[in-house]
Symmetry: D2
Subunit: 349 residues, 4 copies
Amino acid sequence: MIYFNSDYTEGAHPLILERLLETNLCQTVGYGEDEYCENARNLIKKACGRNDIDVHFLVGGTQANTTVIASILKPYQAAVSTKIGHINVHETGAIEATGHKVIGLECKSDGKLSAKAVEDFYNAHWNDVTHEHQPQPKLVYISNSTENGAVYKKSELKALSEVCKKCGLYLFLDGARLGYALASPENDLTLNDLCEYCDVFYIGGTKVGALFGEAVVIINPALKEDFRYNIKQRGGMLAKGRLLGLQFETLFTDDLYFKISHHAVKLAFKIADALTENGVKFLSTPISNQIFPIFTNEVIKRIEEKYLISFWEKVDEERSAIRICTSWATKEENADKLIKDILEIIKEK
Amino acid sequence: MIYFNSDYTEGAHPLILERLLETNLCQTVGYGEDEYCENARNLIKKACGRNDIDVHFLVGGTQANTTVIASILKPYQAAVSTKIGHINVHETGAIEATGHKVIGLECKSDGKLSAKAVEDFYNAHWNDVTHEHQPQPKLVYISNSTENGAVYKKSELKALSEVCKKCGLYLFLDGARLGYALASPENDLTLNDLCEYCDVFYIGGTKVGALFGEAVVIINPALKEDFRYNIKQRGGMLAKGRLLGLQFETLFTDDLYFKISHHAVKLAFKIADALTENGVKFLSTPISNQIFPIFTNEVIKRIEEKYLISFWEKVDEERSAIRICTSWATKEENADKLIKDILEIIKEK
Amino acid sequence: MIYFNSDYTEGAHPLILERLLETNLCQTVGYGEDEYCENARNLIKKACGRNDIDVHFLVGGTQANTTVIASILKPYQAAVSTKIGHINVHETGAIEATGHKVIGLECKSDGKLSAKAVEDFYNAHWNDVTHEHQPQPKLVYISNSTENGAVYKKSELKALSEVCKKCGLYLFLDGARLGYALASPENDLTLNDLCEYCDVFYIGGTKVGALFGEAVVIINPALKEDFRYNIKQRGGMLAKGRLLGLQFETLFTDDLYFKISHHAVKLAFKIADALTENGVKFLSTPISNQIFPIFTNEVIKRIEEKYLISFWEKVDEERSAIRICTSWATKEENADKLIKDILEIIKEK
Amino acid sequence: MIYFNSDYTEGAHPLILERLLETNLCQTVGYGEDEYCENARNLIKKACGRNDIDVHFLVGGTQANTTVIASILKPYQAAVSTKIGHINVHETGAIEATGHKVIGLECKSDGKLSAKAVEDFYNAHWNDVTHEHQPQPKLVYISNSTENGAVYKKSELKALSEVCKKCGLYLFLDGARLGYALASPENDLTLNDLCEYCDVFYIGGTKVGALFGEAVVIINPALKEDFRYNIKQRGGMLAKGRLLGLQFETLFTDDLYFKISHHAVKLAFKIADALTENGVKFLSTPISNQIFPIFTNEVIKRIEEKYLISFWEKVDEERSAIRICTSWATKEENADKLIKDILEIIKEK
């Protein structure tokens, strides 16, 4: 059985394990105050082209989303997301558990939130005479790439940023799959752009080569104060914080983070192109490392005999979309095998 | 200016004030453990035809909703409501502030939640392989009358109750306007039925003759334990709890609660019938003390010169629905005046 | 049985009931935006000698404490109180339920918090290398009069205020019994002083003549924004907000609030003086409307045959302190009767 | 500079890194549902001699404490700890952030909580007429070894367990340093005993050979349901859950967990014995891998020139206690060097 169901099916990039091995018995202080973390923070600042940002390392995505959002909002304030936003549907109410409503706005099938949707919602809140009886929108949450694999264009992010600034909303970008977004042929954003347009974002490690870890980048000075208290309170302050430092040090040395992201996207496109050429339709245009081809349920059953994939959604009575995920760890030979097998199954039918 | 904008524009039914006056200097213990509260609890048990229920008095609706829901759910569990449910839109995230997501299901314009919608959602949750990544539905919240003035039929409530029992969900009925629901010509439910079908519900006083106060009725024995700790923690334990006892004593003596509710509904129908006869359309069929006639924006502007009403929603570019509310305190002469004035305005146009 | 167990055993001052009666059928908008509330706010501003303060009306003390504290603190920040502070022991964890630790500092038997205790604790926090692993102190909570009936002197409050300002801590004064504190012969504070020294405080109505109600006064501009959202979220926004306005209007007309407070303290001192003259000792010097005489357990049993009092604490195997509370409603003849009966019981032994 | 300041200054036991390397490119499903986790769970069940327990892997201690406690308590219930309990002082209010008060009882300098202290507090709560105004004690939290390095005797744990059962309290044991407790010469407990006496406990990995990870063992069937929802909500569900499985698999193969714990305690005693023989006093008797010798401040300053240790507490104006921690990774040569250097410094003085 070969896994294409997600981008966290293997351990870590070999260079990371190597680095863990070579530093294993070095002694350091805990909680992210060691030299490796310091070095990693500096490498990320350099990659962002900014010295005035704060960088913190957290273990996972739910933790990063929860810690950031809860650190920003006042009790009566809400986060605005798309309806399918990860914080709105796939974190077991982690945000609500910190006391805040997540407001899920309608979005297109690409899962992107538009500047207009945000502005309209903001205006609707403040124009309503009963606004004090409703949670106050204060933070906009987006994912890049989105839950459906799309990536934001610079113009879109800029527009969102402008609306947020105009409305006094904070813009927070969930970058669990940021590497794969930046590696998309559609992408025209840089880390430096993210620093310009977002108040806070994070660079995902868990899905992009690390054992685990997300690097939170805080740009807005108002959001920097006492962030470590928040990390500790939300259970995210790793005793051996060095492990996070060592991993991000490795990922941001010699552009490793970008190289392995490109590898994943290249293979996703190889698969997508082969399927497209053979008449397969997609739920949304393939853009990054997640692609969503549509097959008959019978074909899917056959694919699942050899491959682990994710069921995504029913399209009609006979057909469904599945998600195929590539990653830094995907072997080209497995991608080729998958293509070959799918095309064979299709032809048989 | 005459007010038809809500059902809480006056003080209390005169008999309540009288009772407060005559007991004013009697000394009692605090926190709802006095004789007046005890007597009120017994009167409500009698009205419900049940001795095995617990009755607690809270000050207001947000408090009642929050205290009940937070007392029932485990941290990872969610309340299921309609999209327009009061807890989902008009309590400034009070439920989320206790850590729980409110899941807003689609509903018809009447604002009722169907048994089928609940069952489908429940099944969707448990059939999803990632269900542990989503808040677990555990409580169903409905309002009777609904936010849009509709009332549940016995068959509908029974069906909801059966689905809830089957799925292990608790059924909670918000009765802020329960008096007006029970007084509707559409109604075929009794307080005894509510005890049969709900796990917990409350009998609204604030909008039905009291200065303030909601009587929470807990039927499910599993939900009774330590409820007073919850009340205290959520800020709902009134020092002079007697005030709540005295009010509900009065409302449940000589059927006062039902008589004044009927008065309100009778006047709402008088207005609705007169408008209907003159060709006015409604957003939804008039059913209880809230009615939602549709007028051109110009007509609305004219009405607002003399009357305070609630803007409800835009129907199209030229027309909108308003809400007209009657209550225990509405004077028939004012209802007549409103009818006369509206009909005049309409004719002029 | 005559009640001296607390200061909330009766209804409201007759003038308040009169006012409720005379306005009962006037129509107003809800949620504290009516004219009575507006007028009450202005009267309180006048009594405080300040126009630049915000005044909000809440129903009860737990609600006021919770809403104020939760509106101020960031998630990782804590409230600092005395060990016996009301928020630390008698609110069923209401503050913790909003996510914040209450840190209870040692105090003398009077229940007052000293400027030195606050400063020492603040310094200990910031000098500890692991301070990020501890909740950050940010708000100081005091009660005036305290839980043990003492009142703050102007010099003490000033010192606390200075330490708080120096340390960047907010000073919040719980005035559930503020009337009785200001009426104490020990008192040298005015409402205007409270505005000078506190960031926020409240003027208790529930225990001082009202049916219910606490008037929160916010002085620090940084704490004013969006306070009404907080009130709504915490369940404290009374639909018929007018009831709070009408009560505080009455209390702050013709100095009623101060006059009835003086009445209570005068009677407490009458009782205390009579007991002292007859050799009775007190747990702490009588200062306001709560006094804590010490009797043998046998004497207490005898007193309890005719009077409801509060057991306070064991002094030794044979003796205990009780609390005797007077209020705006205490009749002088009852105080005289109590004195007479206690002295008789003592002499018999 | 050699580190003796804590037991988390290195990476992981070499066998763990080896195992990570050899499985690195194997593909698994996420979130702890892989074979490595399954195997690790079985190994722990075997080590506990119980098949009827649930085992879950979390990343860190704050997370484990928060997730367990929040999963058990109802909103108005509190955790009872010692005054110096980790959850009471060193988790930035993480427990309170989930809504629960931590009640810190007085304890001896060893940091152990006695059965009597728990029972007395429980009785005091329920005998107080105002108990509904106080958080209800429901869970007892202890650490083994304690924050001050002591270990519970079987008789002590049995007594605590019996009191908890009698009072309807849950007993939760924080085993962040459980390996070192079980390796103490004072210890007479087994993992099987912990299953008998506790409702839930955890086996610490972070401080005992793992990169990170705590294995939560749930014995009480009432606490097992839906625990994974809690893990996800609190941010503790590691995407690559396999990493936790692989580590605990290794630690519970060939008794590695116990062997490396013994190594640490052996070296701690070597240091303690050498110091004792030379007249050094300790804050509390050395019992496990944390020892607390007392030196003059001058001596401490000299020690700190070559060694990183933890300042613990001031003993008097001239002397303080420090904490010296050994671990699975401590080299015997470094322990010897420390002894030699300290003895030299002492003699010079």
